[in-house]
Structure formats: structure tokens, C-alpha cells
């Protein structure tokens, strides 16, 4: 009983020591710092912000923008990826265009997005969608080409029509990899959304952490940093869980 409890606590030992050391440092050595605050003060600032509703509304904005952007990118990227994966001719024709647009750093599009959409949800969504579209497109395209060759021969032997083969064999066998693409998209979407808010868009968690920093509230800034970390962790874990369920349902070995 005690042994299980200790084993369960083991991964938390190192972070606890770090936080304790930081607390001690900010209380003793840097007690009058304008740029650092002890973790205990950050917790207090977090609770205040939570009760004022700032946390919820900012988190909601960031998650919503990231979610809409990712959804658009997934529909377009997976759709186009399937077409390009199934048709080598279409893939050859679009190869050059993709390789020209893909390397553009997504944050370099922020000025353009601001000009076109102004501040708000649309500009953030557009940058997130651009950033997540490419990896989803590339992974989907690869997935469509990596169907088990023996299954394609089974399809040939059974004389499935082209559409039957796509619908009954290619698409289902792609599904686990589509969810891998989605999970990668989730990680990118959150990073890009927060970046857009820090750089330009006056909404969401990224903007909140910027404001805390600029108004010399290190406790609140640390609180936001901690919270953004937690949100990122939870969202990624959920995506990973979804990906694993799908892999298992579609025939991954348990």
C-alpha cells in the first residue's frame, strides 16, 4: 500500500524540489525583484484570475481559434492528401506548388493575416490553419500510399471495383495514420495560436501573458505560463488517447 503510494509519487519528486528551490530563491535572494515572483504568489494570482473569469475566457478564445483553424486544415489537408495519395498524376502536378508554399514559416503570415482580417478570431484561425494544413496534407498523402500491398492484392483477387477498393480497403487502413496527423496538428495548432496572440492578436492566453509581463506582474505572468503548460499537456494527452483508441479499433495489436 505504502509502496504503491511511493511509486506513484516518484515522478513528482523532481518538479517539487525545483519549485521549492525557486520559492526559496525568490523569497530570500530575489525578494524585492520586479521580474521574478515566488510560485506561491503565482498560485494566488492564478486563483484571483480564475475567479475574475479571465482564465476561462482567454483559454476559451485560444482553444476555439486553434480548434477552428485545425478543423479547417484537417478537412482541406486530409481531403487533398487523399486525392494526391490516390492519384500519382495529381501528386506530380502539385509537387512544385506544395514545396514552394510549405516552407513559409506560418508566423511570417501574421502581418498579411492582420491586413486581410484585422484583429480577432479570423486572423488567428487563418494562421493556425495554414500552419497545420501542411503536415496533415503530407502525412495523409503518405498514408494513402502505405496501404498493405497484400490487401491490395486481395482486392485484386476479389475483383473489387476502384471505388470499393478505396472505400473498403484504402480509407479504413489509412484511418489510424489520419489520427496521427490530427494529433500532430493539435500540438502545432496550440503553439501557433498562442504565438499569434503574443505577437499580434489582443485576445486569448498569449495576450494575457504578454499583458502580465508588460504591466510588471511577474506572479500573474508565471501563473499564465503554468496554465498554458497544463492546457497544452491536457489537450495533447486527449489527442494521444484518441489516436490510440483509433489505432486499436482499426486493428493495431493490443
Amino acid at each position: 500500500m505504502l509502496a504503491t503510494l511511493l511509486r506513484w509519487l516518484r515522478p513528482f519528486v523532481f518538479p517539487a524540489i525545483l519549485i521549492g528551490a525557486f520559492e526559496l530563491y525568490t523569497r530570500r535572494v530575489a525578494a524585492y525583484s520586479d521580474t521574478l515572483a515566488p510560485p506561491s504568489a503565482a498560485v494566488r494570482a492564478f486563483v484571483d484570475a480564475l475567479f475574475q473569469g479571465d482564465i476561462l475566457s482567454a483559454t476559451g478564445f485560444t482553444l476555439m481559434s486553434a480548434g477552428i483553424g485545425l478543423a479547417l486544415a484537417f478537412v482541406a489537408g486530409a481531403g487533398l492528401g487523399i486525392v494526391l495519395g490516390l492519384s500519382p498524376r495529381a501528386a506530380r502536378m502539385s509537387f512544385f506548388s506544395i514545396e514552394v508554399f510549405r516552407p513559409i514559416p506560418s508566423v511570417a503570415l501574421i502581418p498579411l493575416a492582420m491586413l486581410v482580417f484585422g484583429f480577432g478570431v479570423s486572423m488567428e484561425v487563418s494562421v493556425v490553419a495554414f500552419a497545420t494544413f501542411w503536415p496533415i496534407l503530407i502525412l495523409t498523402q503518405a498514408a494513402a500510399r502505405q496501404v498493405e500491398p497484400i490487401l491490395l492484392e486481395v482486392s485484386q483477387a476479389l475483383q473489387l471495383s476502384y471505388f470499393q477498393q478505396v472505400w473498403k480497403i484504402t480509407l479504413p487502413s489509412m484511418l489510424p495514420r489520419l489520427f496521427v496527423a490530427l494529433r500532430q496538428g493539435v500540438a502545432i495548432a496550440l503553439v501557433v495560436a498562442v504565438t499569434v496572440e503574443i505577437v499580434a492578436n489582443p485576445h486569448g492566453m498569449g495576450y494575457a501573458i504578454m499583458i502580465a509581463q508588460q504591466s510588471m506582474e511577474p506572479a500573474l505572468m508565471l501563473a499564465w505560463l503554468f496554465w498554458i503548460g497544463i492546457v497544452g499537456y491536457v489537450v495533447n494527452e486527449l489527442a494521444l488517447l484518441l489516436q490510440r483508441c483509433m489505432a486499436q479499433r482499426m486493428g493495431g495489436r493490443p
Binding site: 486481395v154 483477387a157 476479389l158 473489387l160 473498403k168 479504413p172 482499426m250 493495431g252
Partner: protein, 254 residues
């Protein structure tokens, strides 16, 4: 008219002659075993008979008509059962694929699936996924899917090669029973000499690296051991022992 005839078939793959001119005929209801050392082209020969490979010279004809591609009349059992089944479909679903391909109306499928599952002894496992079954059972599912196709010809590419000795023997006996019940014609590739003699009505021995003096087709030998065959008495039969001795050196032993 023979159900299958190889008319001086040659096959080149990657610039190498895999099969030198080969001529033989298969009568309806025959069980033909094909043996030879690895790399002698026995699988290639089988794939040509199934229409997966087009001969470089000569032709394969089925009931007098030259084969140009796969047909639903020819079922193919792959050695790698784990990859030949759709992991996202249950046993029932996998067998249903053959019926869907043949355009059997949805209402008639269930009855035909349960009939074919009964024949291979899988009735109790209809709702399981392939990964929940043992190797022997997975191979039974693949055989069941081929039977559901209601083919004239059954091509089997080392179907029992990956199974343990006990499972292999029981599947051999089951296969012989099925073939007799359904009047199937079988081409069975194996590198197991005893399996070839035990199952076959005729054994075709191939040799690797053919030359004009030593063509691919090394020997065609009739197996006159009476049916029904039995794992003990057949394998002690004087003819069995004689054939085993005669064929031994075709497998690359000197």
C-alpha cells in the same frame, strides 16, 4: 479440356529468367503440389496462374481461354494470413468482403457467411477480430473467405508454412476434406516435401537457375497413394517413402 494449362510459359523478373519454358496441364478436381528450393519461381508460377503476373512468353489458359488478369473464379490464399485479413473487420466482416465484391445482396450474405464458417469450424468465432485469433484460425478465416468466393480454382502459397506442426497437420486434413466435398481444383505451393506428397495427386518439382539443358520443370510425379489419407498410415505407406526419397534432391539437397 484441362481446367488450367501452362503453354510454354516463361517469366522474367528484373532481367532474370525465373521460369524457363514450362508446359503442364491441370485437370478439374486435381490437387497439384508444387515444390522446389527457395527462389525457384514456384510462387511466381502460382501468381501467373492467378493472373497477378503476366508471362513474358507463352500463356496460361483457364478452360481454353488465355488469362489476362485476376478473376473471381480463382481464389488466392496468401502465406501471410496476418496481413491478408482486414484487421478492422470481424471474422464475419472479412468473409463478407468476398460477397460484397461478388455483388451478393446484403440480405443473403449472413446465411452464406454462417454456412462457410460452419465448413471451416469457425462458427463460434464469427464476431471476433483477426488479432483475437491464433495463427491457425486466422488462416482458416482466409480459406473461408476464398471458399465464399465459390471459386473453381484455389491457389495456395505456402499457406501452412508459418504454423506449428500440430496446427499444420490438422489444417492439412481439413483442407483435403474440403477439397473433396467441394470438388475444388488446387495448386498448392510448399517447400515441405512431406506436405506436398501427403496432399497432392501430382507433385510438380521446380529447379532454380534454369538452363536450356535443365529447364525449370524438373519433374512431374503422380502420387498414387489412395484417399482418404491419414497422417499416420499414409506417411508409412511404401509409395510415400519412395516418393519422398525420389523427390528429396529436387529441394536443393545434393
Amino acid at each position: 479440356m484441362p481446367i488450367l494449362s501452362f503453354n510454354d510459359v516463361t517469366i522474367h523478373l528484373g532481367g532474370r529468367e525465373i521460369l524457363s519454358p514450362t508446359r503442364f496441364e491441370v485437370e478439374k478436381g486435381e490437387f497439384i503440389s508444387i515444390i522446389g528450393p527457395s527462389g525457384c519461381g514456384k510462387t511466381t508460377l502460382l501468381r501467373a496462374a492467378a493472373g497477378f503476373v503476366t508471362p513474358s512468353g507463352g500463356s496460361v489458359s483457364r478452360q481454353g481461354k488465355v488469362i489476362t488478369g485476376p478473376s473471381r473464379e480463382v481464389a488466392f490464399v496468401f502465406q501471410d494470413y496476418g496481413r491478408a485479413l482486414l484487421p478492422w473487420r470481424t471474422v464475419e466482416g472479412n468473409i463478407s468482403l468476398a460477397l460484397e465484391a461478388a455483388g451478393v445482396p446484403a440480405g443473403q450474405r449472413a446465411a452464406r457467411i454462417s454456412k462457410v464458417l460452419e465448413t471451416v469450424g469457425l462458427a463460434a468465432h464469427a464476431g471476433k477480430f483477426p488479432t483475437q485469433l491464433s495463427g491457425g484460425m486466422q488462416q482458416r478465416v482466409q480459406i473461408a473467405r476464398c471458399l465464399a468466393q465459390e471459386p473453381e480454382l484455389l491457389m495456395m502459397d505456402e499457406p501452412f508454412g508459418a504454423l506449428d506442426a500440430m496446427t499444420r497437420e490438422s489444417l492439412q486434413d481439413e483442407l483435403l476434406r474440403l477439397v473433396r466435398e467441394q470438388g475444388l481444383t488446387v495448386l498448392f505451393v510448399t517447400h515441405d516435401l512431406e506436405e506436398a506428397i501427403y496432399l497432392g495427386d501430382r507433385v510438380i518439382a521446380l529447379r532454380s537457375n534454369p538452363t536450356p539443358q535443365q529447364p525449370s520443370l524438373a519433374a512431374v510425379i503422380d502420387v498414387t497413394i489412395p484417399h482418404p489419407r491419414d497422417q499416420l498410415s499414409t506417411k508409412e505407406h511404401p509409395d510415400f517413402l519412395r516418393l519422398r526419397r525420389d523427390l528429396y534432391h529436387y529441394l536443393g539437397h545434393d
